[in-house]
Structures are given as C-alpha cells and as structure tokens.
Symmetry: C2
DNA sequence: GCGAATAATGACTATTTGGTCACTCTTTTT
DNA sequence: AAAAAGAGTGACCAAATAGTCATTATTCGC
C-alpha cells in the first residue's frame, strides 16, 4: 500500500494521503487539479446533503462529478478524507473565532465587552454560513451521529465546538457576568439554539426576515444568560419532572 | 408483492406489513411474538445508536439478535418499518403531550398558567427519556438528516415537533405572554436548546447534577422568553453580522 | 396425539460497493 | 521532439447486502 507506481507523495508529507500531490509547480497542472478537486467536492457535498453521508457511494460521487471512479482515489484516500477536506475551512475559521472569543472574554470586565466578544463569534458563524452553506448544513446534519467512518471528523468538530463553548461560558462566568447556572448547561443550550436556527435558515423553514434573526437571538440568548438584577432570591420557579403538584 | 404464501395479514389491515400477524389469540404464540419483536428491536436500537442508522445492515441486526435473517422479514417489512415501530411509543406520547400543552395554553391568561403548560411538556419529555432513552438518542442523532430511506420517519417526527413547538409559542404569544420575538424563532431556539441538553445527558457529557438541569433550563429559557418589564424601548442591542463597528 | 397453521432457518440470487490496476492520454521537463 | 511524470479511465475483483424461498421445527385447535 505504501509503494505505488503512481504519483504518491513520498518523504515527510504529513498531510494525509491523496490530498496533496508531489511536484506542485505553479503551472497548469495545479490549476486543473484544483478544478477537479472542487468538482468532486461540490458533487459530493450536494449528494451528502441530499441523501446523508452514509448513503452516498464513491460511484455516486464520481458519476455526479462526471469522472471515472479511479480518479476519485487519485484525489482522496476515501470518503472520510473527502469529508475532512470539505470540513477544513469551516473548522479552521470557526475554531479560530471561538478561541479569539475566549481570549477577548478572558479580559472582559463588563457586560458590554462580553457582548462584543459574542458578536465576534456570531460574525464568524454568519460568514461561514454565507461562504460554505453546504458544509454548514452537512455539519448540522451529521454532527450528532456516532463518530464512526466518514462521520468521525464531523462528530469531532462538534465535540470541539461544545468544548470551546463551555470554555467561553466559563470565562464569562468567572468574571461574574452570567447568572449562576452551570456553564456546561448554558453553553450547550446556546449552542443547541443557534444550531437549530441555522438549520432552519438552511432548510428554508419559515423563520421570517433573516435580518431580524440576530436581533432576536441576542434578545433571547443574552437575556437568558445575563445576570439579571436581584437573583439569589429563594423561591425561584422550578421545572420538575412531576406531572402536577398542588 | 401483495400475495404471499406466508402468514401475511389479509383483509383491511391498515397497519403496515409484517408488524401485525394474523389470528392473534391471547395464547403463547403472541407472547413469543412479542419477545422476538423486542429482541429484534433492542438489538437494532443498540446498533443504530452505536453506528448510525444507515451503517447497520439487516444481517447485523439478526446476528445481534441471534436469529436467522429470514426471521427479520417475518416481523418487519424492512429497516424503515423497524425504525417506525421503535419510534411509535415516543412519538405518541410526545405529540400527545405537545397537543395537550397547546390546549392548556390556548386558555392560559397569566404567566403562571403558561409555566404550568410548559412544565407538563417537560414532564412528558423526562418520562420518554427515562422509559426510552435509546429511542430518544436515535431521534436526536438522526432527526436532522435528510428524510430518505430508514430515516424518513425520524425526520418527519422532527418536523412535527417543530411545528407543534411553533404552534405552542404562537398561542402563548397571542395572549401577550411572551416578548415580541417571532414565535418561529423562539420556538426553534428552545427546541434546539432542549435537544442539545438531552443529547448531553444521554451522551454522558458532564452536565453536573441531573436534578439541577430542569431548574437551570427554566431560568434560561423562560427568562429568555418571558415578556420582561419595559420592552419596546428603542435602541436595543444588535447582534449583526458585521465584524466590527465603531 | 394428530393434522393444520404458524414460525424459524440459512442457503441462494442478484446487485451493489470499495478499492485496484494495466493501460491510455496529457502535461512537463530535458 | 522525445522521454518522463502525472492524470484519467473503466473493466475487474472480492466482499457485502437486501430480499426470497424451500425446508424444517414448533405450536395450536381438536
């Protein structure tokens, strides 16, 4: 498997398998290579979103892209590698954005600074949504599934997002900016809410004016999270599992 | 396809294919039938959650259940039918609960009545979580995927849940109990938050004390939704897509 | 206990699938 | 322009898969 007649990259190429090719001059080959790669990725992404990751075969992809089957394997090791390539840009931007938010928040001392940090992540998300709607859709679709096979990377990204969200919330919490709720809980609640709304937008569910969405989300989420005046009073409402209680 | 040598139910049996069998006395056969059905369902559910719906084959299921392949087709028409059977009880309870909530809410005139209605749905959800954790997990895992093949029913349930949630929120909104945010938005946000937290609980992510969860959720969600004193003031915070604005 | 109805079995078929490879075509290098 | 390197092709293979069915085993009505 390691030795091949073909153009396998030798040496210390750390990047996985078939993704990056040898010589890589700046010439015509590279351009063509990029084209082909994009054709395959686009065709695959469309199918993934239509049918689900597992239901799409390599044959489906190559057929949709209009290339021979063997060509696929010149560009990607397997379906998982393709998914990873698809995910890469979104993952990069998203994680960078969340880390930056964490850094800002580490120094935030007032509520306004906290809002700014959150707004910055929102901007990153909106950017990803506009630039890679299909990938975001794929993420939303598959991220909750078990981390096996081609879904591994998507699920892994989901775990990272959750972890960062909790970290961020933790930081805001440390400075006493949030109400006394476990950061793990409020962070996941926010992540869930945002993801569900993104899905609605991408699925064209009727959400109303898109431009009003961020505003609505702010009102909901931030007012839910923010430390309201006069907490810690006993006798707060409870939402227990019991069916009724007189 | 309609005619079979076997024990196919004839006549006007509206329920799908292989699920319900002919004579159905109250005797030993029925008991055994229930057992086998449950064995198949349990084995399948476990695999679905471990590997994802699409990745599990009929062979996997029958092997895990310790029966021959042909036996599967005596109990279910195909994988989709099995999933439907798996989903049935949860779907029933959940939708009934949400409809009841809608009815209560249609008459609710104060915030306390609204809380009560929400609490009742929460109770239904907690009940489902305790009684059918695997099914709930399956739902959370697969509900966002495209509605094709075996996933059709799960996706359909998800659509129903969303629709009911919006309906409910709409009702509360009509009575002026909620802040002026599009019901479609706030409803989906809440659904997303709740689903994400359920997933966390079922995935054994560290959420802290389980018993505190409902309380935290109430604080977050209801304070986010509830009409706060003194809205409608202009100049509310905005969470726009722009990266920065001086 | 006995014949009929029902259930279970697993070998079998037809198809699909991931992955390979010898070969041809195109671009780059010399 | 010729040789070398890279890229594309599709027939091919072994393994896997959904679904069937003749046969065997179990239970039911009597």
């Amino acid at each position: 498997m390691a030795t091949r007649a073909g153009p396998r990259s030798e040496g210390g190429d750390t990047s996985a398998g078939a993704g990056s090719r040898p010589g890589r001059p700046g010439g015509r080959r590279e351009a063509h290579r990029r084209e082909r790669t994009k054709e395959l990725e686009d065709a695959a992404l469309k199918l993934f979103v239509e049918r689900g990751l597992d239901a799409v075969t390599i044959d489906d992809i190559t057929q949709a892209a209009g290339v021979a089957k063997g060509t696929f394997y010149r560009y990607f090791d397997d379906k998982a590698a393709l998914v990873d390539a698809l995910l890469a840009p979104v993952r990069g931007e998203l994680l960078a954005g969340m880390e930056a938010c964490g850094r800002s928040l580490a120094q935030a001392r007032d509520v306004e600074a906290m809002f700014d940090a959150y707004r910055a992540v929102a901007a990153v998300i909106v950017g990803a949504l506009l630039q890679y709607p299909g990938v975001v859709r794929l993420y939303l679709q598959e991220s909750r599934g078990p981390a096996v096979g081609a879904r591994t990377q998507v699920a892994e990204l989901s775990r990272l997002v959750a972890r960062h969200a909790v970290d961020i919330t933790q930081k805001a919490h440390t400075h006493g900016l949030l109400r006394p709720i476990r950061p793990a809980v409020s962070a996941l609640a926010v992540v869930g809410a945002v993801e569900r709304l993104l899905l609605a937008v991408l699925s064209e569910e009727d959400i109303g004016n898109l431009l009003e969405l961020p505003d609505a989300l702010t009102a909901l989420v931030l007012d839910g999270l923010r430390l309201p005046p006069g907490v810690n009073k006993p006798g707060r409402r409870k939402l227990d599992g019991g069916p009724k209680r007189p």
